[in-house]
Amino acid sequence: MTSTVETPADASRPAPSGLVAVAHAPGWVRYALLAVGLVVAAWLPNGLYPAVAVDILCWALFAVAVDLLLGFTGLMSFGHAAFWGTSAYVTGLVAIHAGLPFPLAVLAGALAAAVLAVPIGYLAVKRTGIYFAMVTLAFAQMVYYVANEWRSVTQGENGLQGVPRELFGVDLTDDYYFYYAILPIVLLGLAAAWRIVHSPFGRVLVGIRDNPARARALGYPVHRYKLTAFVLSGFIAGLGGGLFAVGHRFVSLDVLHWTTSGKAVIVVVLGGIGTLWGGVLGAGIVVRLEDWLSFSGFEAIGLVTGGIFVLVVVLFRRGVWGSAAALAHRLAARRR
C-alpha cells in the first residue's frame, strides 16, 4: 500500500539520491565512449564557431568541478562563481603584469581559487544540504562585491581588458588554434576530476555523501574531507575560469555574479548529477543553446534555460547523461 507519509525530516538525507547513475558499463563501452568523446573534442572547433568551442571547454571544467561536489560529495555549491571568477581575475592580472605564458597564469589563477576555497569551505562545510547552498551563495556574493569595489585591481565595471594570450611567442590570437592549445589543459583537468572520483579519496567522499555519521565512526574526519573536496573543486573551477579569462582576453564582474554560479548548477543538473561527463555534455548544450538564442532574436533567454531546468528537475532528474545511461542499461537488460 502506498501511504501519504511525507518526510520533511528528509533534510538529513545527504545527496540527491537515485540520481547517481555510476552505471557499471562494460569496459569496451567505456573505452568506446572515451574515444568518441576525444574525437568530438578534436573536431569541435571545425563544427562550431571556435570561440564557442573554447567556451564549452571552459564550462566543461566548471561543471565537472561543481559535480565533484554535488554528485560525489553531496554538497551543492551555489557559489562556485567565486572560484571561477577569482581565478579569472588572478589569471588576467598575472598574465598582464607578469607576462607569463598563459598556462602558468591559469595555474596561478587556479591556485588562488583553491586558496580562497579554504576559508569559504571551512565555514560552509559546517552546514549541509540546503544550508550549504545558501551559505556558498552568500559568500560568493561577498566576493563579487569585493571585486566590484576593488577597482584599482579589477578595473571594476569596465573589466580587466587586454589579457594577453602569451605562449612563448606563438601566435594564438585565432581562437581556432587557441582551442587546441588549451585542449590538453582541459583534458588534464577532466582527467584529474576523473582520477579524484576514482581514487581512494573519492571512495571516502562517496561514503561521506551517503552516510557521514558512519564515515566518522570509521575514523574519517568528515569536515576535513569535505573541505579538501571543496578546495579541489575550487581548483578545477579555477582552471576553467582562468582559461575563460585568457579565452576572452578580458575579465568582467559577470564571472563572479551569482547567475554564473546558477548557470554552472544548471549545466550540471541538465547533464546529470553525479555523472561527471554529464557536466561536459551539459556545458556543450547550454553554451551552444545560449549562443544560438542570442542570435535568434528571442528576448527571453532565461525563459528557455529556466524552463528547461524546471522540466529537468521535475521530470528528468537524472539529466541527459544519467537518463541515457539508464536507458542503455534497460535496453541491455532487455536484450539479455
Binding site: 571556435p50 569596465n158 581588458q161 578580458f250 545560449e290
Partner: protein, 396 residues
C-alpha cells in the same frame, strides 16, 4: 578557422555586399534605450542610403545582422568575433555597457574591422583603449558631466551635493562633474559614493544629509543610472528635497528613464542629452518616420545608430571600397551634418565624433502635451565645448 580573406585596395567590396552588425542589449537594462529599435534605425539608414544613390550605390546588397549581448562582455566578445568572422559583418554598431564596449574595441582592433560605439559612456574608448578601427559616436561621461555640471551651475545653482554609485562609471562621473562645476564657478559642498550595486535600494542616508550641509546645496547631482536612478528619484521626492530648495541634476538619464519615473517625479530636473527628438523640425520629421516603423519615439541612441550607419555607408560610397583602412582614412577629420550630428566632426586624433549636445530640463507634468515629449532644451552646448579635448592617452 581564421577570418575571411582580407581585401586589398583593388577589390571593391568583400562578397559584393555590406553587412552591418548591431550588437546590443536586447533583453536587459538597455534594451529599451537601444535594443531592437536600433536595428530599425539602421534599416532606415540603409533605406535612405539606397534611395539617395539608387543605381549609383556601391552595392544594393546591404543587410543587417544583430545579436543580443545581454550586457555580458564575454557574450559580446564571442558575438563580435562571430559577426566579423562568420557573418561577414563590416561594421559593428551600438554595444552599450562599458565593459562589453571596451571588449569589442579589442576585437575590432584585432580583426581590423570597423566599430562605431554608440551605447557606452566610457571615455576609455577614446582614451587608453582607443584604436584605429573604433569610433565613439554619441556621448561619453565627460560630455554628460561637463554639460550638466557647467550649465546647471551657470543657470540654476552654485552649490552642489554629489551622490554617485561607487564604481568605475560613477567615480568618473563624479570627477568630471566636480571639475566642470568648479570650472564654472560652483562649489561641491559634499559628495558621497553609495554602494553599488545597492541591494537595499535605499539612499535615504545620503538624501537626508543633503539639506543639512553647510552651505546648503542648491542642486543634488546624482550619478546613479537605470534602476538605481529610479530609486534615488523616488526617494528624493519622498523626502521632498525639491520643496526644501534642493534641485535635481542627473548625470546619465535617458528618455526612457523619464518615462519610467514620470515627468511629475522629475519636473525641473536637468541633464545632458545627446539628441532630443522634438528639438526641431528636422528631428521631428525623423522621429515621425521612426515612430511609423517602431511604434515609439526614438531615443538619442536610435538616432545615433541611424546616423552612424548612414555615415559609414557614405564613407564606403566615397571610398568605393569597404576596406576598413580606406574607410577609416575617409572618415578621419571629416565634418558631418545630419539629423543626429549637428556641427559634427569625426576627430582624427582619437576617433571621438563630436557634435552639439543639449542641456535638457524635464517639464512639469502640466506642460507635457504629447506622449514622450517630456523635456525642453535649456541650452545647446556647442560641439567644440561639449566634448573633451583629445586625450594624450590615446595612441591610434
Amino acid at each position: 578557422g581564421g577570418g575571411g580573406p582580407q581585401s586589398g585596395g583593388d577589390q571593391k567590396l568583400t562578397g559584393d555586399k555590406i553587412v552591418l552588425g548591431v550588437l546590443n542589449d536586447q533583453s536587459g537594462a538597455y534594451s529599451e534605450l537601444s535594443g531592437k529599435n536600433s536595428v530599425t534605425a539602421v534599416e532606415m539608414a540603409i533605406a535612405d542610403f539606397t534611395a539617395k544613390y539608387g543605381d549609383k550605390a556601391v552595392t544594393k546588397d546591404i543587410s543587417v545582422e544583430t545579436a543580443d549581448h545581454q550586457n555580458k562582455p564575454d557574450v559580446a566578445n564571442s558575438k563580435a568575433q562571430e559577426m566579423y568572422d562568420r557573418k561577414g559583418v563590416d561594421l559593428i554598431l551600438d554595444v552599450p555597457t562599458s565593459s562589453a564596449a571596451l571588449k569589442v574595441a579589442d576585437v575590432a582592433k584585432e580583426k581590423k574591422k570597423l566599430y562605431f560605439n554608440i551605447g557606452a559612456a566610457t571615455t576609455d574608448l577614446t582614451g587608453k583603449s582607443c584604436n584605429r578601427y573604433t569610433f565613439h559616436y554619441a556621448y561619453d561621461t565627460y560630455m554628460l558631466a561637463n554639460g550638466t555640471g557647467k550649465t546647471t551651475t551657470e543657470q540654476i545653482g552654485k552649490n552642489w551635493y554629489i551622490l554617485y554609485p561607487n564604481y568605475a562609471f560613477g567615480q568618473d562621473m563624479e570627477k568630471s562633474f566636480s571639475t566642470a562645476i568648479t570650472a564654472a564657478g560652483g562649489k561641491v559642498v559634499g559628495k558621497d559614493g553609495a554602494p553599488f550595486p545597492n541591494t537595499s535600494g535605499d539612499f535615504s542616508t545620503f538624501l537626508l544629509k543633503a539639506p543639512g550641509l553647510n552651505p546648503k546645496p542648491d542642486v543634488l547631482g546624482t550619478m546613479q543610472a537605470g534602476a538605481e536612478l529610479v530609486n534615488v528619484v523616488k526617494q528624493y521626492n519622498e523626502f521632498k528635497l525639491r520643496d526644501k530648495g534642493v534641485g535635481l541634476a542627473v548625470g546619465l538619464m535617458f528618455l526612457t528613464d523619464i518615462h519610467s519615473l514620470t515627468p511629475a517625479a522629475l519636473a525641473g530636473t536637468t541633464y545632458t542629452d545627446a539628441w532630443y527628438w522634438n528639438f526641431d523640425a528636422k528631428n521631428r520629421e525623423f522621429a515621425d518616420r521612426f515612430q511609423q516603423k517602431a511604434g515609439t519615439r526614438p531615443t538619442f541612441a536610435h538616432a545615433a545608430n541611424y546616423s552612424a550607419a548612414l555615415q559609414y555607408l557614405e564613407a564606403v560610397q566615397a571610398a568605393g571600397t569597404d576596406d576598413a583602412d580606406a574607410v577609416v582614412k575617409g572618415l578621419e577629420g571629416k565634418t558631418v551634418e545630419d539629423v543626429f550630428l549637428r556641427n559634427g566632426k569625426i576627430r582624427a586624433e582619437d576617433h571621438r565624433v563630436v557634435h552639439d549636445a543639449y542641456l535638457a530640463q524635464v517639464k512639469p507634468q502640466s506642460e507635457v502635451t504629447e506622449p514622450w515629449d517630456y523635456v525642453k532644451v535649456l541650452k545647446t552646448i556647442p560641439a567644440a565645448e561639449a566634448f573633451r579635448a583629445p586625450s594624450a592617452d590615446c595612441k591610434l
